[in-house]
């Protein structure tokens, strides 16, 4: 089993690395087409022409684009990701500080989405063939029409402002100073046994994670329902029925195991959408993650930060696809034998 997983990881790595190189070229070239001059943002308006040129040369922006790319990618391979132009700190630090927050948000969102999606999917399967199925189905289409960033605003309006029961800005209460051990606030709070901080972080993540989950759950629900419907026509289900096994047991012990695979594929393919969705949700909730960093960098035309943030998004998506590939093999006995 372990050998198989390692083989998959190796095979993915061979595909992923050239892919990341091409992606980095794409990001680099698109960003160099920008009609704005990043130097203009950092230099004083009274600077003399030779000072402008010196700053430009300092950041390597005077060289042709292919040369700039080779310098950048060469540095990246030697572990130097460059410095942010406007923040004047290492890009790696900026991304390292914000990425854990975004990963936490995405994982919580995925957790909520799976719970809501599975619950709703099983319900819809349970009521199949009745009027309630059509109602649930149309309702799920209506839910699909709410993109995550609109959910975010609705949740803030309702739960945050109208009822005022949950906080909706930041990652934890302003009264806390986060211990900076792993960067993952939940882990850090557990390590330092800081109960109030854990509680505060939990309260802060519910609304943004729920906004993402509510947009994602209908997809899970619909795929789960349709794959369960398909599985239920298989011979082994009929056999199980003939053996007198209860309908619930058939569903949970036999059908769900096989019905879950297409759902898993969907979650894997769509995780990129969920992860990309964190970008806007972070802005709306003032949540200090990668999305907030990227939009701030966009406002300052800070090219090194923008390209690194964009590349990080791609790395996370490719990594999550790999995880799904491995899970798929672990869960699917048919693939395990090969």
């Amino acid at each position: 089993m372990l050998r198989l997983i390692l083989a998959i990881l190796l095979r993915r790595l061979i595909v992923v690395i050239p892919m990341l190189l091409v992606v980095s070229v794409m990001i680099f070239v698109i960003l160099r087409l920008l009609p704005v001059d990043p130097i203009a943002m950092i230099i004083s308006p009274t600077a003399l022409p030779h000072e402008v040129e010196a700053t430009r040369a300092f950041h390597g922006l005077d060289k042709p684009i292919p040369v700039q790319y080779l310098i950048w990618i060469g540095n990246v391979f030697s572990g130097d990701f460059g410095n942010a132009i406007s923040f004047r700190v290492s890009v790696l630090n900026l991304v390292g500080e914000t990425l854990p927050a975004t990963i936490e948000l995405a994982l919580f969102a995925l957790f909520f989405a799976v719970i809501i999606g599975f619950g709703a999917g099983l319900y819809m399967f349970h009521v199949r063939g009745t009027v309630r199925e059509t109602v649930t189905d149309v309702f799920s289409i209506a839910m699909l029409s709410f993109p995550d960033f609109l959910w975010a605003l609705i949740l803030i309006l309702l739960v945050g402002v109208q009822w005022a029961i949950l906080p909706f800005t930041g990652r934890y209460g302003p009264e806390f100073i986060a211990p900076d051990i792993t960067g993952f606030i939940f882990l850090d709070a557990i390590i330092t046994a800081d109960g109030p901080l854990l509680w505060s972080a939990l309260g802060h993540i519910i609304l943004p994670a729920l906004a993402l989950a509510l947009a994602f759950a209908p997809l899970i629900m619909r795929v789960l329902k349709s794959s369960l419907t398909e599985v239920m026509t298989e011979d082994y289900i009929t056999l199980a029925r003939l053996r007198g096994i209860s309908e619930w047991r058939i569903l949970l012990r036999h059908a769900l195991k096989n019905g879950v695979l297409p759902t898993l594929t969907l979650v894997g393919v769509q995780f990129g959408f969920l992860f990309g969705g964190t970008l806007l949700v972070e802005i709306i909730f003032a949540y200090p993650g990668l999305g907030n960093l990227m939009v701030r960098a966009i406002r300052n035309t800070d090219l090194p930060v923008i390209q690194m943030a964009a590349l990080t998004y791609c790395v996370v998506v490719l990594a999550s696809n790999t995880v799904v590939d491995v899970l798929y093999v672990v869960l699917n006995p048919k693939l395990r034998k090969e």
């Binding site: 992606v23 309006l157 970008l279 939009v295 964009a310 998004y313």
Partner: protein
């Protein structure tokens, strides 16, 4: 009554579906509003009334019948902005999804029909594109292209062609195994003619369904880009811009926020219902399933 039932049964399948009728109705209504915006809007959407900003809707005792849905923080008529916003949304939806469809479907046909290295190349390209979260890719593209409706359309085309390519390719792969494709080739049809006359018509139902769904996605993407301030020019009314502006004064009034959100979701829902209804009625596999059930 019988005559009516008989007539309904004689309608083409899609028109008998409630989803298609409701979804299509919503889409048609938004289209009509977009086309006739200058006649329907009570005010100039960009005209500011700085003495009457953040006014509640007309049904509120403090409202002004001149502004049926009230005004925003700059005193602009919310209803008129909503009506004009439908223009941006519909233009982006129609043009962007058509563009994405043309590129995606063309590449899907080439990949699925010819197979071999060209299929491998196109599939790799799609995988590459899909490793970008769509929001991130469209943000970077908009940054490179600069704001403007035509650039939004271009960005959506460049991001979303993969949605068509991926799905249509696998259908083309199936279709090209059919006997009538070999028959067409034996009759001396060239590749282009085979693709256009035999392959394309059989994947058309799928393309129509995907188009409807893509239009909904395009409306959302436009709203997202407007929301971040990377979409339309400053003097154009768009729903996403309204949402972003209204967020700043949502403690004073919620109408400026709720109404454009409602406009976006109702429009997207129209496209989704239409797409889902078309999928159910046009997809022969699903149709057979339902016949078997009945």
């Amino acid at each position: 009554m019988n005559a009516l039932a008989w007539r309904i049964r004689r309608l083409p399948a899609p028109l008998r579906s409630g989803r298609v009728l409701i979804g299509g109705g919503i889409v048609l209504a938004v289209t009509v509003i977009a086309i006739f915006a200058p006649w329907l809007a009570p005010n100039d959407p960009q005209e500011q009334d700085l003495f009457g900003n953040i006014m509640p809707p007309a049904w509120d005792p403090l409202g002004d019948p001149k502004y049926p849905f009230g005004t925003d923080n700059l005193g602009r008529c919310i209803l008129s902005q909503l009506i004009y916003g439908a223009r941006v949304a519909m233009v982006v939806a129609v043009v962007a999804s058509t563009g994405a469809m043309v590129i995606g479907v063309t590449l899907a046909h080439i990949a699925g029909y010819f197979g071999g290295w060209i299929d491998g190349l196109i599939t790799r390209l799609v995988d590459l594109w899909m490793s970008f979260p769509p929001v991130v890719l469209s943000l970077i593209l908009m940054l490179g292209l600069g704001v403007g409706v035509s650039n939004v359309i271009l960005a959506i085309i460049l991001v979303d062609w993969t949605r068509f390519c991926r799905v249509v390719r696998s259908d083309v792969l199936v279709v090209r195994q059919r006997d009538y494709i070999s028959a067409a080739q034996l009759l001396g049809f060239g590749h282009f003619r085979t693709l256009r006359r035999e392959v394309l018509p059989s994947v058309m139902p799928l393309i129509i369904t995907l188009m409807a769904l893509e239009m909904g996605i395009a409306v959302v993407v436009e709203a997202i880009l407007s929301f971040v301030g990377l979409s339309v020019e400053a003097d154009v009314s768009a729903w996403g811009v309204m949402v972003a502006d209204a967020r700043q004064y949502m403690y004073q009034s919620v109408w400026g926020l709720i109404l454009p959100i409602a406009a976006i979701t109702v429009t997207v829902m129209g496209f989704n219902l239409l797409g889902d209804g078309l999928r159910r009625t046009l997809d022969p596999r699903l149709r057979q399933e339902r016949h078997a059930q009945a």
